[in-house]
């Protein structure tokens, strides 16, 4: 039964990847991609990683899906041309490359699974070192304490992505177009319930993250989802200028994280040491705010946000 479930999900993944990527309209491809992300989340759940299930659902399927949808909408609104399909020869060649790479990856992967030893040395060190931190969730432990340089640089990548997107869009662009706001009564009522709920869920995920699955990334993605909701409902608008508060929110994750790390160095501790659970919460909160703000701005395609309409 166990195997049957895994096989079904795995087949689903393959079929959905095919549906998302090959043939059919681009819009259908995007919808299929979102469903692929949800199925990935199921796979992570089966692999015993609720953290990844959540991250995949919220970031991999949810926010990425929203970004793809809005980019698709914008490309249509711009009237961008439809590219000419590739030649038949190239398609045949590509099929060969695709099949070959599949076989290769399968062979390599199966050999790797075959050759697995008694378990990763690093993983065992993790299990041994976790209790001393007071955290119950090993993933949060790795992300915030043991390998926090990765996490810090990853938040910097998000910041770089925002600045680089602004650089690509240039000065003359106050904001990219957004679809007209939804002002149907039902939408209004739903937004009134959902928007506060996103904040609540985000804070819960953040707090739960130290012991249970969850953490800054999932929480930040939920906040971003809330921001996207407000934007689509016409409660939040792109703005040509970025207010100081929002600018601080953008860099809060990187600054607070490195600030704590450098203060610890100045106090004679190792660089980026985390002094206690309170610091974990502090860092995670700052990261959540940064992730949420950056993702919403990336969705808006604007420099800033405001409660008032642009025009």
């Amino acid at each position: 039964m166990n195997l049957l479930i895994d096989v079904l999900i795995a087949i689903g993944l393959v079929v959905l990847a095919w549906q998302a990527l090959v043939g059919g309209s681009l819009f259908r491809g995007i919808v299929m991609f979102i469903v692929f992300g949800l199925t990935m989340a199921l796979a992570w759940a089966r692999l015993g990683s609720p953290d990844l299930a959540m991250a995949e659902a919220a970031i991999g399927a949810g926010v990425t899906g929203a970004l793809l949808m809005i980019a698709y909408w914008r490309l249509r609104a711009l009237g961008a041309s439809r590219p000419t399909p590739r030649s038949r020869l190239r398609a045949r060649l590509a099929l060969g490359v695709g099949v070959l790479s599949s076989v290769l990856v399968a062979m390599i992967g199966l050999a790797a699974v075959e050759a697995i030893g008694p378990g990763g040395e690093a993983g065992q060190a993790l299990a041994a070192a976790l209790p001393a931190t007071g955290l119950g969730n090993p993933i949060t432990g790795v992300l915030v304490i043991f390998r926090n340089l990765d996490t810090l640089l990853e938040v910097a990548v998000l910041l770089a992505a925002y600045v680089a997107s602004r650089a690509a869009l240039g000065d003359d662009k106050a904001a990219l177009p957004l679809p007209p706001a939804q002002d149907a009564p039902l939408v209004g009522a739903l937004v009134a319930v959902l928007a506060p709920l996103t904040v609540l869920v985000a804070i819960y995920l953040l707090k739960a993250g130290s012991q249970l699955p969850g953490g800054a990334f999932q929480a930040g993605a939920v906040l971003a989802a809330g921001g996207v909701l407000l934007m689509l409902a016409g409660r939040l608008h792109p703005a040509p200028l970025c207010g100081l508060g929002l600018r601080i929110a953008l860099v809060a994750g990187t600054v607070v994280f490195s600030g704590v790390g450098i203060i610890m160095l100045a106090l004679g501790q190792p660089l980026l040491a985390v002094p206690g659970t309170w610091a974990v919460y502090l860092i995670e909160t700052a990261m959540m705010v940064s992730i949420g703000a950056t993702l919403v701005l990336l969705f808006a395609g604007s420099a800033g946000l405001s409660g008032k309409a642009l025009r």
Partner: protein
């Protein structure tokens, strides 16, 4: 003190980038200066430590590998850190003309510039395979953001192509990391090397990672994205892309094969990588010769010169290693100087098409001189840094009786002479007709002279590198890869 110095190398530019992004306006310039100016100080401290002890390492957050991430500095990394810092600072001086930090566009430029500097320093310090992936991504995003900052259609297209290929390259790299972690149970580059052997899986993992990195570093035959990207980026960005960004990926390939797999590289691997380098030298040089635009010629010259870095593999040994590292250093300086000079020429003449540049030396004597001096180093003529590296490389090829490699190195030099003399001849020609248009948008004469002096400084640095190579060579001899140690 070394811990503070290492911290400064990564965190000063990172925090300065945050400050510039969060507080644009008049304050911006000060933060840019605060993020870049102290870096040489950090490096001096670090150099002292490396000279004293040979290598320096630091466990981040106090957790040593395999659980944590470690920074590790040896002479090779130190020299690249110096190169990166010098390029970021000196080319930054040039960029301050085109991108004043208090403008909105300038703010974005400097935020990305600082992020790129920080990311490359973090990459050069890191000894952790996954952390290297993260820094590579940061380098890619920041570099492409800089590439497209002027919004030129050609640059946008080149940036898009670069991004798609770089992301694909990252995927291959990550697949290799997955295999290595599965086999070795650690992500530390040096630890993993000790725990693995020449079995099929580790070698496959290395091949996958190398393919990914070859795409990112545009080594022949995966170079297709480079000329358009480097040829269409803004001048200072082209300089840093050619001088540093593509090279850090090759540096990682060196680390993988000569450190991680020091004891167990398969016999075929090193000559194979060398063949790619030979292909790059010949193909890149011929195409550089065929270009009609000066900047594209310089970009194709980068494709060719990257090939010499891959020749380290077949010529591996103490000589080959110092030669390749010295080539990396002198080419970085010379190529940055070249791109800046070309950028000046482009700004004044309004075009960089070779057939319209006749007689440009009268209007741009300084930049023509820079181009010639940098060319001397690229060619490998004495007394330049390029000469030292080519000479050492020829010696290395001679010592192992690798006549084929010897011929490739010599042919590369001759071809470089061919493609470099052509633009110089054009610039110094006295055309009877075809005066370039005078109504082009050009920076103020003061700004222009400033840019010209900055470019000349870099070209002179590449020359001086040939006059006094001893300290660098001595330093490098203290940090040879495991396989080249006596």
């Amino acid at each position: 003190m070394t811990a503070e110095a290492l911290t400064g190398l990564v965190f000063l530019p990172l925090l300065a980038a945050c400050a510039v992004a969060a507080l644009p306006g008049r304050l911006g310039g000060g933060f840019v200066l605060a993020g870049l100016a102290p870096l040489p100080l950090c490096l001096i401290v670090l150099t002292g430590a490396v000279v004293d002890t040979g290598t320096v390492s630091l466990a981040i957050a106090g957790f040593a590998s395999p659980l944590g991430i470690e920074w590790f500095v040896d002479p090779l990394a130190l020299i690249l850190l110096w190169l990166n810092t010098v390029i970021a600072l000196v080319v930054g001086l040039y960029a301050a003309r085109d991108y004043p930090p208090h403008s909105a566009r300038g703010g974005r430029f400097w935020a990305l510039w600082l992020l790129l500097t920080s990311a490359m320093n973090a990459l050069l310090l890191s000894a952790d395979l996954f952390n290297l992936f993260v820094t590579l991504e940061l380098v890619t995003v920041a570099a492409i953001g800089l590439l497209v900052i002027d919004g030129k259609p050609a640059a946008l297209r080149a940036g898009m192509r670069y991004l798609v290929l770089a992301l694909l390259g990252s995927l291959f790299y990550l697949l290799g990391v997955a295999l290595i972690y599965g086999q070795a149970g650690t992500l530390d580059l040096y630890q993993a090397g000790e725990r693995l052997g020449p079995e099929l899986l580790p070698v496959t993992a290395l091949v996958l990672m190398t393919v990914g990195l070859l795409v990112k570093s545009a080594v022949f035959p995966l170079h297709s994205w480079l000329p358009a990207a480097h040829g269409n980026a803004p001048g200072p960005v082209s300089a840093v892309l050619s001088a540093m960004v593509v090279k850090v990926s090759i540096y990682l390939i060196w680390r993988l094969w000569l450190w991680l797999a020091a004891d167990w590289q398969p016999d075929w691997a090193l000559p194979m990588l060398g063949l790619l380098g030979a292909g790059a030298i010949l193909y890149g040089s011929v195409l550089a010769f065929l270009q009609v635009r000066l900047k594209m010629m310089v970009a194709y010259s980068t494709v060719a010169q990257l090939g010499y870095l891959m020749l380290l593999f077949p010529l591996f040994g103490p000589l080959g290693f110092t030669a390749a590292t010295y080539h990396l250093l002198s080419h970085g300086l010379a190529k940055a100087a070249m791109f800046l000079a070309v950028s000046n020429i482009l700004a004044v003449m309004g075009t960089d098409r070779l057939d319209r540049l006749g007689g440009a030396d009268r209007r741009l004597p300084l930049d023509t001189l820079t181009l010639a001096l940098a060319g001397v180093s690229i060619l490998g003529l004495p007394p330049s840094g390029g000469f030292v590296s080519k000479w050492l490389m020829l010696q290395a090829a001679w010592a192992i009786e690798g006549w084929g490699w010897l011929i490739v190195i010599l042919a590369g030099g001759l071809l470089a002479a061919a493609y470099l003399f052509r633009p110089l001849a054009v610039l110094c020609a006295r055309p009877a007709t075809a005066r370039p248009a005078d109504d082009v948008r050009a920076p103020s004469p003061a700004g222009l002279r400033w840019g010209g002096i900055v470019a000349l400084m870099l070209a002179l640095a590449a020359l001086v590198a040939g006059l006094a190579p001893a300290p660098v060579l001595t330093l490098l001899e203290g940090g040879l890869p495991p396989g080249a140690r006596p």
